[in-house]
Symmetry: C2
Subunit: 312 residues, 2 copies
Amino acid sequence: MSEKASVIFPKMALIGIGLIGSSIARAARKHGLVEQIVCSARTHDTRRVAQELKLVDQAFEQAIDAVKDADLVILCTPLGTYSKLAEEIAPHLKKGALLTDVGSVKQMVVDAIEPHIPDGVDFVAAHPVAGSEKSGPAAGYADLFRNRWLIITPSAKSTDAAIDKLSRFWSEMGSNVERMDPAHHDLVLAITSHVPHLIAYNIVGTADELSEVTRSEVIKYSAGGFRDFTRIAASDPTMWRDVFLNNKDAVLEMLGRFTEDLTALQRAIRRDDGDTLFEVFTRTRAIRRQIIDAGQETAEPDFGRAATHEDE
Amino acid sequence: MSEKASVIFPKMALIGIGLIGSSIARAARKHGLVEQIVCSARTHDTRRVAQELKLVDQAFEQAIDAVKDADLVILCTPLGTYSKLAEEIAPHLKKGALLTDVGSVKQMVVDAIEPHIPDGVDFVAAHPVAGSEKSGPAAGYADLFRNRWLIITPSAKSTDAAIDKLSRFWSEMGSNVERMDPAHHDLVLAITSHVPHLIAYNIVGTADELSEVTRSEVIKYSAGGFRDFTRIAASDPTMWRDVFLNNKDAVLEMLGRFTEDLTALQRAIRRDDGDTLFEVFTRTRAIRRQIIDAGQETAEPDFGRAATHEDE
């Protein structure tokens, strides 16, 4: 990745500018990949923040105003908005424009968007596997995609030239680019991201509703493990609602397996079957080592956070 | 907490010296709370490391040799060893000695140990709510207990004087000391620690056994959420097997509620009930804020780890 890459897309339009959209704005600017950045955002507040932080040259309320003359249009809004947005902006896309997205589900995105794509416009669905529990334009940062994966899921309206151009754009921002079939992407992400989020939301919800254990006790003693789950359970509710509604089959499939396995562990506990517990707990240990070795996680104990919050 | 506290227990014996035992050795030495530290450990390797790191003055194979003349004896071994250990060391404890432990379950500890306590010896069960996914004597550090809770669960053999002395010992090491009924402790920890560990072990186990998604895909795309779970699923298997076997009732109770709630979310996904999902996801967001405000978690996005592993 170079700080002085040449411009790939003269004008970039971000439809929505939250954590991901604003990080793209910062990274694309930092690496000199675009000349002009515009965005659209529904709320006045978001547009104001985007302009105050100089993330964009212009901020519009309407997506159709943002996409005008844009070479690259990126949908950075919750999945539930895609279909309507695609229909709305399609007639306003410039000939030769590339339309892409950053959604966490891909088959549905292809199905929702492709029918609206006019001739002469390229469509390439993509998903940066990066993020944090913070949301909004002020939460983004230019290095969010560095050393993270960017998955491109080509479909009928994706030309090779467009795929290559978009791959170069993300590579310059620090991502490692992979291609995958949309349906397979959704299965992989169901287990590596969607179900983990669902069970994190769920355990935090369960803890919140107990009567025998007070909320203040849950908070006080959260360092025993619970607090790890609260991080992803603090993620954007709208985005995640839409992920589950739009990746229903894969999520239900993976959730079914999770529940089966959990029932087996529950049975082992009830029957005092220590050997089964020990076997599972030993097997799982190895996977973390491999994730660290793959550069996808810090090797520091406790995520290295011990150092950062001792004195809070 | 002061660096120059006076000695509280002239001779301290640690039965077992893994992450917790070795952290106590470091912290007690750092704060001048003991004069002499001895330990017992089953394996030659652990004894060698404990001596090489100068964690102890002497390391024994047998617990009965370590407890001789000790003023403070701390059980730092897995819960499954407690009953036999207590029976074994009881006749060798000095008059006036204080026996305590660091186990993550408390009712079972009281039940297993108290019958063996001879007259003239104090027993005070305790649990430092601190740890990391690393284990072994080299993994410990002196600040592990700083700003973490230490829960004392007094029982019939706990005199007020012994409770006060032990509280002072832990306070000097930086802990915030609380008292709790043993059974209530077990319920609180079931939801804040034990069930979170079980579901983390479980999701990692589920991901490891899929055939449609390869292990290498799980590892590559783990930054989408999964990797958070691998941290606690890398915790010591023996310790955790014993936690589940010894806090069976509370764990099964809390697990039952978790599963009920998860079934409700599953149903909401199947029925496209976005409102239910949104409501739960919004409620859970508030809890993280409170944990951060209580000083039990870092406010940094992504646990602050982004900064530490970018270049791995």
